[in-house]
C-alpha cells in the first residue's frame, strides 16, 4: 500500500514539475545560453554564423551610441535607486504618522502604478508637446515664455524630461516602505518621546535603522528597473534626439530590428552581466554594513 503510493508520488512529482520545468528551460536557460553564445558570433539570424570571439563587445564599446546608452543606464540606475527611493521613503515616513487623509493620499499616489507605462508615456508626450502641451502653455500663461522648450526634442531637456516624469511616480516603492514603517512598534516612539527626542530625531534614530532592510531591497529593485529601462524612452523619444536619451534596451531593440544578432546579443549579455555585478555589489555593501552593525 505504502509502496504503491510512493510510486504514484514519483510519477506525480514528475508530472507536476514538467510544465514549469519545460517553460523554464525554454524561456530562461536556453535564452541565456543563446545570448552568450551568439554574442560571440557574426550572424544575421539566417546565414552561417562566424565565430568572432569578443569582437562584438569591442565594437559595441567603441560605438558612441553604446557609450551614451551605458551612461544613460547608469543615470537611470542612480536616479531610480537613490532619488526615487529617497522620495518614496520621505513620503512613506510622513504618511506613517497618519496625517489627515493619509489613506486617501496612499491610494492616490499608487494609482499611476495600475495604469500602463504606455498610457502614462502617451499622456506625458502630450504634456511635453511643444505646440499644445500643458507645460509650455502654463509657462506662457504665467509670463515665462522664455522658459518654454521643445522638451523632448532638444538634447539639453530630453533626458531630464523623461527622468523627472518617471522618478516622481513614487507610488509602488512608497507603499512597500510605508508597510514596513508602519510595522515598527508604537512603544519605540513613546519611549523616545519620554526621553525628549523630537519628531525629526525619532525618524532619524528609530525609523531609518528599522527600515534599512526594506530600503536596500527596494533600492535593488529600483536599480534593476533602471538597468531594464525601455518603455518611457522608447515611446517618448525612441532614444533621440541624436541618441542622447538612448539606453541599452533601445539599442538592443534597434540592433535586433537590423537583424544584427551578434551585436544585439552582446548588448543582451552586457545587460545580464551588469545586472549580476549590481546585485553582487549591493550584497557586498549590505553585508559589510551588517558586519559593521554587529561590531558595534
Amino acid at each position: 500500500m505504502i509502496v504503491q503510493s510512493r510510486k504514484g508520488n514519483r510519477l506525480g512529482i514528475i508530472l507536476f514539475l514538467l510544465p514549469v520545468l519545460t517553460l523554464f528551460t525554454l524561456y530562461f536557460i536556453y535564452p541565456l545560453g543563446f545570448v552568450f553564445v551568439t554574442s560571440t558570433l557574426d550572424w544575421n539570424g539566417i546565414g552561417t554564423p562566424q565565430f568572432v570571439g569578443l569582437q562584438n563587445f569591442l565594437d559595441n564599446f567603441q560605438t558612441r551610441t553604446f557609450q551614451i546608452s551605458v551612461r544613460n543606464n547608469f543615470i537611470w540606475l542612480f536616479a531610480l535607486g537613490f532619488v526615487q527611493i529617497g522620495l518614496a521613503a520621505l513620503v512613506a515616513i510622513l504618511l506613517a504618522r497618519k496625517p489627515r487623509g493619509w489613506r486617501f493620499l496612499r491610494t492616490v499616489y499608487f494609482l499611476p502604478n495600475v495604469i500602463s507605462q504606455v498610457a502614462i508615456a502617451m499622456m506625458w508626450a502630450a504634456l511635453y508637446n511643444a505646440e499644445y502641451g500643458a507645460i509650455n502653455q502654463f509657462l506662457e500663461m504665467i509670463g515665462l515664455e522664455n522658459l518654454t522648450h521643445n522638451w523632448l526634442g532638444e538634447i539639453s531637456t530630453a533626458l531630464p524630461s523623461i527622468l523627472i516624469q518617471q522618478v516622481l511616480y513614487i507610488g509602488y516603492f512608497m507603499i512597500i516602505i510605508l508597510a514596513s514603517t508602519m510595522s515598527i512598534p508604537e512603544s519605540f516612539y513613546e519611549a523616545a518621546e519620554i526621553d525628549g527626542a523630537n519628531v525629526l530625531q525619532q525618524e532619524i534614530f528609530i525609523t531609518l535603522p528599522m527600515i534599512k532592510d526594506i530600503l536596500v531591497t527596494t533600492m535593488t529593485l529600483a536599480m534593476a528597473y533602471g538597468l531594464r529601462h525601455f518603455e518611457a524612452t522608447f515611446l517618448l523619444t525612441n532614444g533621440g534626439p541624436a541618441n542622447s536619451t538612448s539606453v541599452l534596451g533601445i539599442q538592443l531593440y534597434k540592433e535586433l530590428s537590423a537583424l544584427d544578432y551578434g551585436h544585439a546579443n552582446a548588448i543582451g549579455a552586457t545587460l545580464v552581466i551588469l545586472g549580476i555585478l549590481m546585485i553582487v555589489t549591493i550584497r557586498a555593501i549590505g553585508s559589510r554594513g551588517a558586519a559593521a552593525d554587529r561590531m558595534q
Binding site: F28, L90, Q117, Y132, I175, Y189, L227
Partner: protein, 287 residues
C-alpha cells in the same frame, strides 16, 4: 495614535510649524503631480482641437462626447480590449495552474535535488528579461507562434514562473500539515491532496500571485511589440502606440482613446485598492 499626536507635538513649537509646512508641501506636490496630468488629459479629451490650443486650462465650451465615438471607431478599441483580456486572463490562469502544481511538489513532497531546483527557478527573478529579446523572438518563430496571441500567452506565463513559484511556494509552505494528514488517512491520493486540500486552501496566495501576473500581462509592452505584427494579435498597450499615426492631428480624440484604455484599470483599482495594496505589500515584504 501616539505618533499622530507627536506630529503636532508641543516640545518645540517653531520646529513643528516648519515641519508641518514641509510635510504638507511634499504631500501636496505629489498629489498634484499624480492627479493634475490625468485631470488635464480627461478634460482635454472633451474639447475641440482648437480649444486645446487656445484655452488649455479652461473647461470645454461644449463637452465633445463625439471624441469618444471617434476614438472607439478609429482605434478599433473593442478588438484591442478583447485581445488584452484574452492574453491576460489566459496567462494568469496558466501561470497559476502550473506554478501551484510545482509549488505543491516543492513544498509538500521530498525528492533529490529539490532545494537546488527550487533555488534555480526562483533565481530567474534576477534575469533582466529585456536582455532576452533575440532568443524570445527566435523561440517564438521556431514554435510557429509569431504574431499570435499564443506567443504572448506563453511568453508572459513563462516570464512569471519565478515570481509566482516563489509566492505560491511561500504560501503553501505555511499551510499546516495536519490538514493534509487528515485527507491522507481518508485515503486521498497524491492528486487528491493537491486538488482537494492544498489548491483550495491556497486561494489567498493565488490572488496575490495572480494579481502580479495579471498586472504584468495587462501592461506588458516590449514583447507585444517584438512578437506580434498585425492588428489581429495587437494588445491594448501596443495599440496605444499606434494612436499617434491613427489620429494624426485629431489630438483630443486620441486623448479620448487613451482615457478609454485607462478606465478599466482605474475602475478595478477604485473597487479593489485595499486588496491590491495589501496583496502587493505582503508579497513584497516576504521577498
Amino acid at each position: 495614535m501616539a505618533r499622530q499626536a507627536t506630529a503636532v507635538g508641543s516640545n518645540d513649537g517653531i520646529g513643528s510649524v516648519a515641519g508641518s509646512i514641509f510635510k504638507w508641501t511634499v504631500l501636496t506636490f505629489f498629489l498634484v503631480f499624480t492627479f493634475f496630468p490625468l485631470v488635464w488629459l480627461v478634460i482635454s479629451s472633451f474639447k475641440t482641437n482648437i480649444e486645446l490650443q487656445t484655452a488649455p486650462f479652461a473647461l470645454p465650451q461644449v463637452w465633445q462626447f463625439g471624441n469618444y465615438v471617434n476614438a472607439v471607431q478609429v482605434a478599433e478599441l473593442p478588438r484591442l480590449f478583447l485581445n488584452s483580456v484574452i492574453v491576460s486572463t489566459s496567462s494568469t490562469a496558466l501561470a497559476m495552474l502550473i506554478t501551484s502544481m510545482a509549488a505543491f511538489v516543492f513544498s509538500r513532497e521530498k525528492f533529490r535535488g529539490q532545494q537546488s531546483l527550487l533555488n534555480l527557478i526562483i533565481a530567474g527573478v534576477l534575469v533582466p528579461i529585456i536582455a532576452l529579446m533575440a532568443p524570445y523572438f527566435r523561440l517564438t518563430n521556431v514554435l510557429g507562434l509569431y504574431d499570435s496571441l499564443w506567443a504572448l500567452i506563453l511568453t508572459y506565463t513563462a516570464i512569471n514562473i519565478p515570481i509566482s513559484t516563489f509566492l505560491m511556494y511561500g504560501f503553501m509552505k505555511s499551510i499546516p500539515a495536519e490538514l493534509e494528514e487528515a485527507a491522507v488517512i481518508d485515503g486521498a491520493s497524491f492528486y487528491q491532496r493537491f486538488s482537494m486540500v492544498i489548491f483550495p486552501l491556497s486561494r489567498i496566495g493565488l490572488v496575490t500571485a495572480g494579481t502580479f501576473v495579471f498586472l504584468f500581462s495587462w501592461n506588458e509592452f516590449i514583447y507585444a511589440l517584438l512578437l506580434t505584427s498585425s492588428v489581429r494579435s495587437r494588445t491594448l498597450q501596443l495599440g496605444i502606440r499606434f494612436f499617434t499615426s491613427q489620429f494624426f492631428t485629431d489630438y483630443t480624440s486620441m486623448f479620448a482613446a487613451i482615457v478609454l484604455t485607462i478606465i478599466p484599470s482605474v475602475l478595478v483599482y477604485v473597487f479593489m485598492h485595499e486588496k491590491i495594496i495589501k496583496g502587493l505589500t505582503s508579497g513584497a515584504l516576504k521577498g
